[in-house]
């Protein structure tokens, strides 16, 4: 998604001269579509994420639209209080771009695994959090939201090849996009695991489980009305995210289920164990944490089987 992000931002910057791009010395072979076209609007601020967000706060107050770019963990956690007391407190149009949410930087090790960025950032009122499912949707999201009020956090995947053709880049802020419709179980997937979840729902169909699959790309403000409607009629709901099971989509849905009185059982697939020091490829880590398509199939199948047993 990085390539899609950089080229779309350059396209927007062509017509909106307020757009600036700041990076904390990251984005090698990714940001060139912007930096080469707009060298005077591109700032590598060095390895200094707090200062980067502070700069963006000062820039946004005088009318600029600054995008700040780093790896998801650094963009969200290192700069967290600067985000809180800066763009959030002042309701400024600062755009924080966190690349590599989840295990995109798998071999880089746990310091680079973005497992709580959504959780901490969605605590901030007025900070919109979006996680595109693929490059095409990343483009739509940027084109739709670049000038909306208040601060934004874009959780991007590092993988430029990530593609969910069925989605056709559709995006509507605060609404989930449905990719499969079936009565047996509801699968809700956040952002970049959409393609994994899509493969899982097709595998479920082959074993006789007809799932509805919806991609949730808006994570803050919680898309309460939209998701409440989608829960109706389902006995079992599974959330899928490359994030700690607490704080992200699973928590959002748990809150909606509890507050709406929806009658369903919720299974949250996410990372449930603390850092164990292990690094590895994205497929390895997804499998290890029960987030591969096979794990999603197994979890959904178990949920449906258990329901059948309790119903009979």
């Amino acid at each position: 998604m990085r390539a899609a992000f950089a080229s779309t931002l350059a396209e927007l910057a062509e017509r909106d001269e307020r757009i600036l791009l700041l990076t904390g010395d990251l984005g090698y072979k990714a940001l060139e579509p912007f930096s080469e076209r707009f060298p005077r609007r591109f700032f590598n601020v060095g390895v200094a994420e707090q200062n980067m967000v502070g700069l963006a706060t000062g820039l946004a107050e005088c009318g600029f639209l600054p995008f700040v770019y780093s790896i998801a963990t650094f963009a969200s956690l290192r700069a967290y209080e600067f985000i809180r007391n800066g763009p959030v407190a002042h309701r400024l149009k600062v755009r924080i771009v966190g690349v590599g949410g989840g295990f995109d930087y798998g071999p880089a090790g746990p310091t680079h695994h973005g497992l709580e960025d959504v959780g901490v950032l969605r605590l901030q009122p007025g900070l919109t959090v979006v996680a595109p499912a693929d490059s095409e949707q990343a483009r739509s999201i940027l084109r739709d939201t670049w000038d909306r009020p208040g601060p934004f956090y874009y959780r991007l995947s590092k993988d430029d090849r990530l593609s969910v053709p069925e989605l056709r880049g559709r995006f509507s802020l605060g609404r989930a996009e449905v990719l499969r419709r079936g009565p047996d179980i509801l699968l809700l997937v956040a952002g970049s695991l959409a393609s994994e979840a899509l493969a899982a729902s097709d595998a479920l169909k082959r074993i006789g489980i007809d799932a509805t699959l919806a991609v949730v790309s808006t994570l803050n403000p919680a898309p309460v009305d939209d998701l409440r409607g989608r829960l109706e009629g389902f006995d079992d709901v599974v959330t899928i995210e490359d994030h700690y099971a607490a704080g992200g989509l699973g928590s959002i849905v748990a809150e909606i289920v509890a507050e709406s009185g929806a009658r369903c059982r919720l299974l949250r697939l996410g990372v449930k164990e603390g850092p164990d020091g292990l690094s590895g490829s994205l497929p390895y880590l997804l499998k290890r944490h029960g987030l591969s398509r096979e794990s999603i199939v197994a979890a959904a199948e178990t949920a449906v089987e258990a329901r059948k047993r309790s119903d009979s």
């Binding site: 200062n51 000062g58 820039l59 005088c62 007391n85 800066g86």
Partner: protein, 273 residues
């Protein structure tokens, strides 16, 4: 003078200190020593250094009170400059007031929320960079405490501003040598502070932070086009009230009735310019 060429009525430091004492007493709160420490710096800034036609003028100079806990001194300066009415000033630290111990930008005249130390210089550097990109002559002034220099993030901004030659950025360090729990020399030494800034590539001016004329002269002589500027202002914590000067506990303590009357008498007898 302000941007339209009209002379600005000077903000009298005696009046500013009286407000600090009156409001602290009325609200029964502390942070008095910190506010008194920067009273003359704020009097100088709001007597014509800061070009502010209206608080919402996009072309105004930006001022960031990075040591947000001295906000009362800022409120007093805004009041004396005619940007904050007496009735609003009297809500200081009250329920539902915009005038908290730390400043909040919903209050006209406050550009940015501060209170978490080490944040303001980055914002100021952003404001200065923004002005340059827009071809504007406006400047950004950031008042930081000396103990605040313990925040690593501040030095990120120091490096950035020097690297980008932000000569429209002016930092003022309130070097009173004290912090909440002790003297900076005992807590985290700032020995050789001017040289630290010099070695980072800043234009350094050591000044008396209680000499309003000198502050004004120094700022008006700052060149554009070179490195960012820092005024290292030697100050006395609690300045103007003999029993507060240099005393650690006046970081947090409120005043008794007797202390209040003594303090008020002392600052009222202080010099007028």
């Amino acid at each position: 003078m302000n941007a339209s060429g009209k002379p600005v009525q000077p903000v009298q430091p005696v009046a500013l200190r009286r407000i600090i004492l009156e409001q602290s007493k009325r609200a029964n709160v502390g942070h008095i020593g910190s506010a008194l420490s920067v009273a003359d710096i704020l009097a100088a800034l709001y007597s014509g250094i800061l070009r502010i036609e209206r608080p919402d003028d996009p072309e105004r100079d930006r001022f960031i009170l990075s040591k947000g806990h001295a906000a009362l001194a800022l409120y007093a300066a805004l009041h004396l400059r005619g940007l904050l009415d007496a009735e609003t000033l009297d809500t200081y630290c009250g329920d539902g007031s915009l005038l908290g111990v730390h400043p909040e930008p919903a209050l006209p005249g406050v550009d940015f929320a501060t209170g978490s130390l080490g944040h303001g210089l980055s914002i100021g550097a952003g404001a200065a960079l923004g002005a340059r990109l827009q071809g504007s002559s406006r400047r950004a002034f950031v008042l930081v405490s000396d103990a605040e220099l313990g925040e690593g993030s501040l030095w990120e901004a120091v490096m950035f501003a020097a690297h980008h030659g932000l000569s429209n950025l002016v930092a003022i360090v309130d070097w009173n040598g004290q912090q909440a729990l002790g003297y900076t020399e005992d807590v985290l030494s700032l020995r050789g502070l001017p040289d630290r800034f010099r070695s980072f590539g800043w234009d350094v001016h050591e000044i008396d932070g209680h000499d309003i004329d000198s502050i004004g002269r120094t700022v008006s002589g700052l060149p554009l086009g070179g490195p960012p500027h820092v005024l290292i202002a030697r100050t006395t914590f609690g300045k103007g009230v003999s029993f507060m000067e240099g005393k650690i506990h006046w970081h947090y303590w409120p005043m008794s009735d007797e202390e209040y009357l003594r303090a008020l008498a002392e600052v009222s007898a202080g010099r007028q310019t």
